[in-house]
């Protein structure tokens, strides 16, 4: 990036949306209209003029790209970095603006997990005409996404940002108190579609699993966050159990190096000694440093002393720093520091009272407890206990994945999968209806 303050010498700048978001509900015309209004925010108060062109020679080339898109600044899946732009200058990328196509781009949406395209576009075009980040809380040039900024037709730049852009380009004639008002006709501006107020459902891709009504192949805590894997997709929750996006991300786009024909994983865990992440599928495993696979993988799971046939679940237990592998009604205890299986294993999973078998996976969590997952339900084991807490199983969808009971089958329906001495068939879920009140949750 050319970070030194630079500006355009010319006043008429061309722009073009070269690629569009692939999985957003925003149509091409809406995206172009939002870009138009985001540029107009700046041209309304400066002598700059923006005009849309075709072809590849626009001053401001706009692209929606994913992960590594050959400009040296790869995006990182949902969340994290969401967009960037190149400052004015003589290089051919000057002014170009890139949006992360793994984000869920929205417009006039109440979806707290979406990213308001207009707000981000105004910010990035501030860079494209020469503004850098500042720390002022109310500035549009603050580096952090602060949610939608309201209606593009009524948006007013914060004064801080006006002053800074005026320092670069001066004031547009029409803004100065002595100028005659510019006459523009309504049909000079593209029309922004009105989204129906009740438009809240997000069209799902055909092969995308529905998080509210599925079981999971693997669940893991990685760098303090929870990852739920299903097929070729995964959902990610922050430490505070906030779902990063309602839309799952694609495993292969984030975990680089897994074979493209891998259609699911069996188990995942983070090694506590070196924080590398281990993926299991069948008789093979892969070790990742951050989100890149290490050389020499996959390797056979016999490295762990595990028999052929694969595993169901893996987790490292906080209280003794050992790693536990589960398969059907057996479990093993492995020492990641010594890189060897502890003697006298496997043992019977019945030692874990109240925990069903086979499992889908298990995970340690930041509250010091361990969670066991099977089907649409999960069980909680505290600290160094080996017995499920009373009141479990509970619904994964409701407690982890922001699904209301209407969206997910109620645990009662799943009564047949209850096991363990403590849970009684048909027991009504206390946590849901204490004191006889129904607890409702608002998910959108």
């Amino acid at each position: 990036y050319a970070q030194a303050v630079t500006k355009w010498n010319k006043r008429n700048l061309s722009w073009r949306v070269r690629t569009f978001p692939k999985e957003s509900q925003l149509g091409h015309d809406t995206v172009r209209a939002l870009m138009y209004y985001a540029l107009k925010v700046w041209s309304d108060i400066t002598p700059l003029n923006f005009h849309e062109v075709a072809g590849n020679n626009a001053d401001i080339q706009i692209d929606f790209s994913k992960a590594d898109h050959n400009d040296g600044y790869p995006f990182d899946g949902p969340g994290g970095t969401v967009a960037h732009a190149f400052f004015p200058g003589d290089h051919h990328t000057a002014g170009d603006t890139h949006f992360d196509d793994d984000e869920y781009w929205t417009f006039r949406s109440s979806d707290a997990h979406g990213m308001d395209l207009f707000a981000v576009a105004v910010h990035e075009f501030g860079h494209a005409i020469g503004l850098t980040h500042i720390s002022a809380i109310e500035s549009i040039m603050r580096p952090y996404y602060q949610g939608p900024v309201g209606d593009p037709l009524k948006y007013d730049l914060p004064y801080e940002d006006k002053v800074r852009i005026w320092q670069l380009y001066g004031v547009r004639e029409s803004v100065s108190p002595t100028a005659k008002p510019e006459v523009t006709r309504a049909d000079d501006h593209p029309i922004l579609p009105e989204l129906p107020e009740n438009h809240s459902s997000i069209p799902l891709r055909r092969d995308m699993p529905n998080r509210c009504n599925t079981h999971f192949d693997a669940v893991a805590q990685i760098r303090g966050e929870a990852f739920f894997f299903k097929g070729k997709y995964f959902w990610r929750l922050t430490r505070n159990k906030h779902l990063v996006s309602l839309q799952p991300a694609q495993i292969h786009r984030f975990w680089r190096g897994l074979p493209l024909n891998l259609d699911s994983v069996d188990a995942v865990y983070e090694r506590t000694n070196d924080h590398k992440i281990v993926f299991f599928k069948g008789d093979r495993y892969w070790v990742f440093k951050d989100n890149n696979v290490e050389e020499g993988y996959p390797r056979p799971i016999s490295d762990f002393g595990l028999p052929p046939g694969g595993i169901d679940a893996a987790f490292s237990w906080a209280h003794n720093d050992k790693t536990y592998f589960f398969k059907d009604n057996l479990y093993w205890r492995y020492d990641d520091h010594e890189r060897r299986m502890d003697p006298s294993y496997p043992s019977e999973t019945t030692l874990w009272k109240g925990i069903p078998s086979p499992l889908d996976d298990a995970m340690r969590w930041s509250d010091g407890a361990t969670y066991f997952f099977r089907g649409k339900e999960y069980w909680k084991v505290l600290d160094s206990d080996m017995e499920a807490e009373p009141g479990y199983p509970q619904s994964i969808a409701r407690d982890w994945l922001v699904c209301s009971d209407m969206q997910s089958d109620s645990p009662e329906a799943a009564g047949s999968s209850r096991t363990g001495a403590r849970s009684r068939q048909g027991q009504h879920d206390e946590s849901r209806s204490e004191n006889g009140y129904e607890v409702c949750s608002c998910t959108s």
Partner: protein, 88 residues
């Protein structure tokens, strides 16, 4: 880093250093001289990031700081390298 009630986990420190380097608060380790990022530089970088982000300038990777580091944001650095160096 100064003592804190919940010293950050090694993974958080790794995340923090990577994040601070990426967004211009911490100069990358110098591959030629092999000079690593010092503790003092890290503390100053954290303080600069906290001030820029409107957080309390504690100089440690506390919860609020880690949370802000996870907030979706623009890829551009916040400080020009020269500015960062001048700040330090």
């Amino acid at each position: 880093a100064p003592a804190s009630p919940h010293p950050p986990a090694p993974a958080d420190i790794a995340l923090g250093v990577d994040w601070l380097t990426r967004f211009g608060y911490l100069p990358p380790p110098d591959p030629v001289t092999g000079q690593l990022q010092t503790q003092e530089e890290l503390t100053k970088a954290i303080t600069a990031m906290q001030q820029f982000g409107g957080l309390e300038a504690t100089g440690i990777l506390d919860e609020a700081t880690l949370e802000l580091m996870k907030t979706p944001r623009c890829s551009l650095p916040d400080l020009a390298e020269s500015e960062a160096r001048r700040k330090r």
